[in-house]
């Protein structure tokens, strides 16, 4: 009996954005490795055996540009670098894990991060929704640019995030979260919000109340003096390894209230 050799998994290291997009194709069977903070443990444990992997480290997706009133941040910019981003993105980035993990984790990876084994991830998703950010991604059907909120609702794991962009506007930002059990826990619940200096265009979102972050439109409609408890209309809370639905139901209005207070005081 002859034994066929096991095929070596394909690993590509694209040297440009164009090469990365071409290598990703329609995304079928492709694993994208940005900083490695999520995927490397899966590889080490043998839970992930990718046939084709793209390493983004050399793809030139780590540029950050402010031009023409728009902030454009490449998918491979580290979470650590985002501590210099506009609020509330900066506060959320500052609270992710520790210095080294922040320096390795990337914006694109955090944006695509679906729920882990029993808990939601993606601490930066809510701040990006609050900033009215758009995602430029590639995959089946070609490139497209869409609001973060829509991107998160349409299988973000099947897309290659290229860049995130938002208007560089003079907005006030607020952020509040439950304290993490230890440095490397994901945030069980966090709320991010922005508002214009004139007090209009309130945008509020939360991470940790579902697989991906969600926008809290009911809170936005009530304005800064509205009832924080309205947030519960926009979420479907479940139990997971980080917190129970019962706990989140009681804490979400508290966090919303804190963020609205931050915005009122800042204004």
């Amino acid at each position: 009996m002859s034994v066929a050799p096991l095929a070596e998994p394909e690993v590509l290291v694209p040297a440009s954005e164009e090469e990365a997009i071409a290598a990703f194709g329609d995304g079928t069977g492709v694993t994208v490795l940005g900083g490695g903070t999520i995927l490397m443990p899966e590889l080490a444990a043998g839970r992930l055996k990718p046939e084709k992997t793209i390493l983004l480290a050399r793809a030139g997706l780590d540029e950050w540009r402010d031009e023409g009133g728009t902030t454009r941040i490449g998918a491979a910019v580290s979470v650590g670098a985002l501590v210099d981003a506009p609020e509330p993105l900066a506060s959320a980035a500052r609270h992710v894990a520790d210095y080294e993990v922040r320096s390795q984790g990337t914006l694109g990876g955090n944006l695509c991060a679906g729920p882990g084994r029993g808990f939601p991830r993606g601490d930066l998703q809510a701040p990006l929704i609050a900033l009215d950010a758009y995602v430029r991604s590639a995959g089946a059907g070609g490139e497209r640019t869409e609001p973060v909120e829509r991107f998160l609702s349409t299988s973000p794991g099947n897309r290659l995030v290229v860049q995130v962009e938002f208007e560089t506007r003079d907005r006030l930002g607020g952020w509040a979260a439950l304290e993490r059990p230890h440095a490397h826990s994901y945030t069980a619940l966090s709320v991010a919000a922005t508002i214009s200096p004139s007090g209009s265009d309130l945008r509020v979102a939360c991470s940790g109340a579902g697989p991906y972050a969600v926008r809290l439109r009911s809170v936005e409609q009530g304005g800064l003096d509205g009832d924080p408890g309205e947030a519960l209309r926009d979420v479907h809370l479940t139990d997971d390894a980080l917190a129970s639905a019962w706990y989140r139901e009681r804490m979400l209005p508290v966090l919303v209230g804190r963020v609205l207070s931050q915005l009122k005081e800042a204004g």
């Binding site: 490695g36 490397m40 390493l55 080294e100 390795q104």
Partner: protein, 174 residues
């Protein structure tokens, strides 16, 4: 694939998705980066990649072609310790020693980017490094001592007492 490890160039045969931790320990034979949790959570595999502290267990070889890697073995030697090594020695900042390599590399990275590090800076820099023995007090004191330059890096290596075996453990910080 090639890396410059503690100043020497290595041609490596490990596949590109191999973690830097496994490359260092299993192919190169450097044992100071410890295989702890292997999911980025404990900090003991931390090394310097191009001068910046990074988790070796989270870093695939293929992403760092040509990078300069520094491990504890590249910091100093028993007769000429680095400031951080000397401070850990003076403050008895190691007990079982398992977390010590990661603590030292994180501290070395901190002092490189912030030589006048404050206590808060040290706490922030070591926040992801877990020690289950010392309780952190001596470790934080050691890093602050190194930041203040209050260390003697040139002490002679302690000689074994009569009858005491002279044991040198590769990768040992002391």
């Amino acid at each position: 694939m090639s890396l410059i490890i503690n100043g020497a160039e290595y041609e490596l045969a490990s596949p590109p998705l191999t973690s830097l931790l496994n490359v260092l320990r299993e192919e190169v034979g450097l044992l100071s980066p410890k295989a702890g949790c292997q999911q980025g959570g404990c900090g003991t595999c931390t090394v310097l990649i191009d001068g910046e502290p990074r988790r070796a267990c989270l870093t695939p070889l293929g992403a760092i072609e040509g990078a300069a890697i520094t491990t504890v073995e590249g910091l100093g030697d028993p007769r000429n310790l680095s400031p951080v090594q000397a401070a850990f020695h003076e403050h008895y900042a190691a007990q079982c020693g398992f977390c010590t390599p990661g603590m030292m590399m994180a501290a070395t990275g901190l002092l490189a980017r912030r030589p006048d590090a404050t206590r808060d800076d040290v706490l922030e820099a070591l926040a992801g490094h877990f020690c289950r023995c010392t309780g952190y007090v001596k470790i934080v004191d050691a890093v602050l001592s190194a930041a203040a330059g209050r260390v003697d890096t040139t002490r002679p290596e302690p000689e074994a007492e009569p009858g005491e075996p002279s044991v040198v453990i590769p990768g040992s910080p002391a």
